[in-house]
Amino acid sequence: MAELLSGNAAIARGAYEAGAVLAAGYPGTPSTEILENAVKYKDDIYLEWAPNEKVALEVGAAAAMGGTRSIVTMKHVGLNVAADPLMTLAYIGVEGGLVICVADDPGMHSSQNEQDTRNYAKFARLPIFEPTSSQEAKDFVAMAMEVSEKHKTPVLLRSTTRVSHSRSLVELGERQEHKSKGFQKDVQRFVTVPAFSRQMRLKVEKRTAELKAEAESSPANKIEMGDKSLGIIACGITYQYVKEVWPEASVLKLGFSQPWPDDLIGKFAGDVDKLLVVEELDPLLEEHIKAMGIECHGRDAVSGIGELSVSTLRESRAKLEGRPAEKPAYENNADKLPGRPPVLCAGCPHRGVFYALTKHDVVVAGDIGCYSLGAFKPLERLDIILCMGGGVSMAHGLDKAGEKKKVVGIVGDSTFFHSGITGLLDIAYNKGKSTIIVVDNRTTAMTGHQDHPGTGRTLMGEPTVEASIEDIGRACGIKRIRTLNPYDQQATQKALDEEINADEASLVISKAPCILHDRSGVKPALEIDSELCKNCRMCLKLGCPAIEASEGEKPSISSILCTGCGLCRQICKFGAISGGENE
């Protein structure tokens, strides 16, 4: 019987079956579970979490240049970090197969921007595969690996949230072993000095023409002829939605989408009366088809913002047919319901730092991770978020630009290793004065607790060196370095006072494990004595989901959610909260 696998688990299986011997990546929703699932195959595949995506790609690229098959995984914004090696790797090419799996997040369920990775395929002149189900996710890894080896090019595999995180049935296959001859020295091939790169540039064009021919006949591209009055070209997951919204229409499904199979597209367009392109995010294909001189519908009916679905495409169909869209049977009355946004978890160690920061009139630059939730009410202690590691360098930028308020940068432990270190080095080298806080919860929490260079464990479960953030700070040249326990509010306040007011750069490590990851710190739930409680609602300023208060009623603590961290007990001026830490 077929197995029910997520798209990410299927990609991992595909890498195993295709004979990959190395897999590297950096966690990022929705790509994370590819490598987590690949751990099942650690007897056959060497696996690692790299400190960032650039490193992951360089590791995977070298493996492939050495003749072995490898995969590299990341989310769309991670590909920006890896863009530098990607563009040149596209020139050099590979010897063994290399599949770069990039998961896009249309609709930004867990991302800071929307990005269409197909642009990178065009930009770097690389082929790209777009699976539409878990079965295809597995099969396309093998197909991409074949194309990669045959044409000596890295190949992109673009997943999206609804492929990565949906589950569907998959027929498993056997692993195919691939023998490597090892690295073969060839300076003109592997050394990108300008004289050689100019030659490579010509090869890229030749390769692109060959790949186009490959795409024309690839089984990943398929015409399903139906009613000829409307032909739809669907890319990636949109195929599945199209089949439900226009079950009668003719469909050209593009799974191997770039270089565009122009002949196939032209033939299909010629066979139908009207052509519609359904693609998520950017109108790359629509623009290409129009440039070919073929008329088509696209953005005039299909949204380019957010993700598509059967619901949104039903509206597109109504629009094309000039009729109003049908309304669902029930309204969700969202305006009558209280919002339920994501929040810092009950017992989260970051809450102690953010609460302490509410006592300071400073500008706080942060980055991407659980702590980005510190930007929301009632804490509201993050003022800027740009990108991973950006909190560190942006604090420095504000400081050097003469910002009147003191500036603080916040970075997580995983993001510190990812790209915070270079910012810290910049601060030390260029004599910055900002205060950098590493909210160190000993894991990559937001994506579901992956290891990193500070955890002392590898992805394959082996013990390893535990990189010290303090030592790295010292090596960068930071003189003021201190570590604090964010659950101890008084000590945290005092430390922040001193560091923020110091006239030199400082590195503060707020260290306590993520309470979801390491349950050893969980204590019995706290309680509020309603006699002693004056209903001043100070405890609610923590934004802890375990402290509940309906309108007019005194706050109470949910015994199911409370982890006994004791932060609220330290905040209460009336001693109304008891239990938890130190008691």
């Binding site: 949906s166 669902p328 919002g339 609610l540």
Partner: protein, 192 residues
Amino acid sequence: MSDTTSVVLAGVGGQGILLASEITAQAARISGFDVKTNEVHGMAQRGGSVIAQIRYGTKVHSPLVAKGEAKVLGGLERIAAIRYADYLSKGGLVAVNSQMMVPVTVSMGMGEYPADAEKMLRDKFENLIYIDASEEAKKLGNVKAANVVLLGALSKGLDKLSEEAWLEAVKISVKPKFIDLNIKAFKTGREI
């Protein structure tokens, strides 16, 4: 027309929606259907409002349920079902756990939790099962099994899946030491 059945489960991150989704999908797979599910990961899971979607039938295309299409809608918290009511088909079955979880927005005075949540549900849905699944789970020894109690109640609206398929799905979806608890939880919900 397509014979695909759609199910939507909604609640708050951490309530066990993914497990309930897994059990439903496995019950459909065991029954010989094509199955697709869709789940929420990453930031949205952190105490936020979460939905899982399951679709099964002869051939399933979209992993996402379209608005107005779900045959059953489960709410693991008092108002979770209202938040996603637009996914339900006319007259579809709704099962709601009467437990109340106050969102931080309400605690901070930025919103109001509807005092008449039960009435809102009864007014909106003609086919409603409103039960205290958390209390039932507590009686069985673990309040965390409320998700499976609610699933048991919901299962009555999914007639193509037999009780045997559901129980088999529970067995392969939970850790061995929790099998008995979850079997009991499922049966409790199904008998309500």
